[in-house]
């Protein structure tokens, strides 16, 4: 499946306080998180973003806190995929766990705000104008979680199979 969306461009080291400021973590209702998504980085983001839009950033996207509210807010805002040169570790893990599509590839200098780009999530290809860029492939172990639609569905299968530790 190929997604086409408008680019929202951000820089390097976009931290989780920029994605969803801690002052809004007194609730995890998706409507609430969506309203304040990216507020301190771009106060007009929540009003402008439309379902299917694509977020593009530089290195170390999602650094800082472990708050899962960050990928949840981005997903609730309707972002179809986050493309970054690299992701901070906990954000990377959280995005996979909750089923927010992410791709690791640098689009530096190739796109600007509002550009239309396309992404094939299955094979990790990004189409920018006449260019085709290949994202870093996910290890097989993570593909299993991605295919299951996130960690909860993946673990549910294990629990059904009776696999749990007593002590």
């Amino acid at each position: 499946m190929t997604i086409t969306g408008r680019v929202f461009l951000f820089g390097h080291d976009i931290d989780t306080d920029a994605i969803i400021p801690a002052r809004y973590l007194n609730s995890f209702e998706l409507e609430h998180l969506k309203k304040h998504c990216m507020e301190d980085a771009d106060p007009s983001f929540a009003a402008k973003v439309k379902p299917g839009d694509i977020m593009v950033a530089g290195k170390n996207f999602g650094c800082g806190s472990s708050r899962e509210h960050a990928p949840l807010a981005i997903k609730a805002a309707g972002i179809s995929c986050v493309i970054a040169e690299s992701f901070a570790r906990i954000f990377y893990r959280n995005a996979i766990n909750i089923g927010l599509p992410i791709l690791e590839v640098s689009l530096e200098g190739l796109v600007k705000d509002g550009d239309l780009i396309s992404v094939n999530l299955e094979n990790g290809t990004v189409f920018v104008k006449d260019k085709e860029l290949k994202a870093q492939a996910f290890p097989e172990e993570l593909m299993a979680i991605i295919r299951a639609g996130g960690l909860i569905n993946y673990v549910k299968k294990e629990l059904k199979a009776g696999e749990t530790y007593a002590k």
Binding site: D17, G64, P139
Partner: protein
């Protein structure tokens, strides 16, 4: 070939004799941690899992420390949700107001993090316990939920970078200065997805508390964990928490992705400028920067040694009239100890506000939010845009000596200049 501390611990918890970087392992965890912000999301995911019970009620810790004492109705509802879950599942280590402390000050004090343990926590500063020789790492709420049900989690074995420090530290230089300096060298993604292993003669001489401060900020370099060998000091620290543990260290022939050797004998107290912890400079370069608020506390610097350092400066002095000083002991035990030593009296007499334990102002939650254009100097761990309040406020980071001295001066200053 030998193994690093991170490799040893991940191997021992996944029933393997050795593991190598980039291996995937499914490993048993010794402790699963959450707080009043992350646990509610985890509890929801736990319910979606349809798990009947938690894997082990003694190996889960729920600490309500972020927006507590409840800052507003929504925060109160979240804590209530955690409290009800804790009661239903008879969670042994549930800590509410009155018993609660800042989680990463509290868990070591309770002896719940031990050398060789594998710990995950839905809080990025879970890496703090690496100071005790544990492999401890921050995860999100869904990982926490899954681990609460299964008692295990998946890990990719990280590469390890080794940081060796030599030289006797100057007066007013401590763990916070070492880690801010290190962040300045390697940057906020300098150890992304990797383990940091700290050692050397300077580290041997460092207190366990100062090591906790350093391990705490490994995440600010993007690290998965920040580990120290467990030595005699670690064993003694945990003995006072009621635990008898053995020393552990990396193999002498362990393989490291990178090795740094720092001579820190001439290191000056460090200050990190807005808006990244990697912007660290010698305190002299920050001299004269006017400040509106100083916070001394947090999971980074809210321990008794930190309060002693602050009180050493503040004794017999007054906080500048243009500055609000907020001091937050990390746990109830630290609070009592500070009271017994007369530190709280020193703070109040100096004109500081002393608070019950809470993460509060560190993440702009409550208990000292900054207005537009205000500048804070804080002993906390992050100075991102809007971290402590208004997006147009600024945060500088330092250790307790510099923070206390600057509160007296009304501007950032080297502690020797106010004594």
């Amino acid at each position: 070939m030998g193994q690093t501390l991170a490799e040893k611990i991940l191997a021992s918890h996944s029933s393997k004799s050795t593991v190598r970087p980039n291996d995937f392992v499914m490993a048993k965890v010794d402790l699963v941690l959450g707080n009043d912000i992350t646990a509610p999301v985890a509890i929801n995911e736990f319910l979606r899992l349809e798990a009947k019970k938690v894997f082990n009620k003694e190996k889960i810790a729920l600490v309500c420390d972020h927006f507590t004492p409840n800052k507003d109705i929504q925060a109160a509802e979240q804590v209530k949700y955690v409290r009800e879950f804790a009661r239903k599942h008879e969670i042994t280590h549930f800590y509410d107001v009155g018993l609660m402390g800042i989680e990463h000050c509290l868990i070591p004090e309770l002896g719940l993090a031990k050398p060789g343990d594998l710990i995950i926590g839905a809080d990025s500063h879970t890496c703090t316990y690496g100071a005790l020789g544990a492999f401890a790492t921050g995860v999100g709420s869904t990982d926490m939920a899954s681990a609460m049900a299964l008692g295990k989690a998946w890990f990719r074995v990280p590469l390890t970078q080794r940081f060796n420090y030599t030289g006797k530290l100057k007066l007013f230089v401590s763990g916070k200065d070492l880690i801010l300096y290190t962040l300045g060298v390697i940057g906020v993604d300098g150890a992304r997805y990797q383990a940091m292993e700290f050692g050397g003669k300077t580290i041997d001489d460092l207190s366990v508390e100062a090591r906790l401060t350093m391990a705490n900020m490994a995440i600010e370099a993007g690290a998965k964990a920040g580990l120290f060998a467990a030595d005699k000091k670690t064993v003694a620290f945990l003995k006072s928490a009621g635990q008898n543990v053995a020393e552990i260290k990396p193999d002498p022939d362990a393989s490291y992705y990178k090795v740094y050797d720092f001579d820190v004998s001439e290191l000056e107290p460090q200050v990190a400028f807005p808006h990244l912890p990697e912007n660290s400079k010698n305190v002299g370069e920050a001299k004269g920067i006017k400040i509106d608020q100083v916070v001394i506390g947090s999971c980074t610097n809210g321990r008794i040694e930190d309060l002693r350092e602050a009180a050493f400066i503040l004794r017999g002095r007054k906080v500048n009239k243009n500055v609000r000083l907020i001091v937050i002991p990390g746990t109830q035990k630290i609070y009592l100890q500070a009271m017994a030593e007369g530190l709280l009296q020193t703070f109040v007499e100096a004109g500081a506000a002393v608070s019950t334990p809470t993460c509060g102002p560190c993440l702009g939650g409550h208990m000292g939010i900054l207005a537009s254009g205000e500048v804070a100097l804080s002993t906390t761990n992050r100075n991102f845009v809007g971290r402590m309040g208004h997006p147009r406020s600024e945060v500088y980071l330092s250790g307790p000596y510099v923070a206390a001295a600057s509160a007296v001066a009304g501007e950032i200053i080297h502690p020797k200049e106010v004594l």
